[in-house]
Amino acid sequence: MELTIERDGGTVIARPNGRLEGLQGASKFQKALEKSIGPDDHALILDMEALTYISSAGLRAVAIMINRTKAADMGFVLCSLSKSVNDVFTTSGFNRLVQVVDTLEDARWTVAA
């Protein structure tokens, strides 16, 4: 999996590309996300458009980021989930832990609000 980071003002837009799986893979992903956030950032958007696979290991990485962003008083929004990835979020109940929206544009509006 590759992770591209883009910064728009104080908003970090992270785009995982490929498969988010395995305990090591998930931990690497989570650490890269944490490193991408600076002290002045106010929101993190996880754009999942190019994410083709996620397992419980990936969900745990997302769970850690929910806690980190909450602790830093940052916004955290997920967008552009494929149907299968979205199924994993609803089946696990994660859609109730973190905001999930349809498009990147919606995500930008959500963190700006």
């Binding site: 305990l23 745990r60 299968s84």
Partner: protein, 162 residues
């Protein structure tokens, strides 16, 4: 089970979870493409085998000091896929022995690893059974191909939402 595809993940002294997951993903993709499962069923079968194999590798070998021998068999029957995974690790019934899934209000970082993955498996398959025989755990599951929603139902639903 007469398999459309079968896969044996041989035990190793140092289990490499990542390479096992790569193997599973590649095999499932191959079977599913050949059988025309469609992408969401391929995803589902991959996820189920990923979670169960990970659980076996992480927890199943503790007493035997090596990762268990894992055999996966998959067969298509009509609209259904039958998935079977067996291992010679310590007895573990995912239907009754898995820790409960972490509650949404809990601190998920500290929740036990197995609970979430097995919760996903149980809720994504259409049936699941377990038996222990000849020193092996054997989990058999079925997953159905998703049917396209009939046009009439779709329009009815749209009307209700308005």
């Amino acid at each position: 089970m007469a398999g459309e595809g079968s896969l044996r993940l041989t035990p190793s002294e140092e289990p490499h979870q990542e390479s096992v997951l790569e193997t599973i993903a590649a095999e499932v993709e191959g079977w599913g493409t050949r059988e025309g499962w469609g992408s969401s069923l391929i995803f589902k079968v991959n996820l189920v085998l990923d979670e169960l194999a990970t659980n076996i590798i992480v927890h199943g070998g503790k007493e035997r000091r090596r990762s268990p021998d894992i055999v996966i068999e998959v067969a298509s029957r009509g609209d259904e896929v039958i998935i079977e995974i067996s291992d010679d690790g310590r007895p573990f019934n995912p239907l009754s022995d898995a820790p409960p899934p972490p509650a949404v209000h809990e601190n998920l970082e500290d929740a036990p690893v197995g609970g979430l993955g097995i919760h996903l498996v149980k809720n994504m398959v259409d049936s699941m059974s377990y038996r222990r025989e000849n020193g092996r755990n054997r989990v058999t599951m079925t997953a159905r191909r998703e049917q396209p929603v009939p046009a009439a139902t779709t329009s009815h639903r749209r009307r209700l939402e308005r």
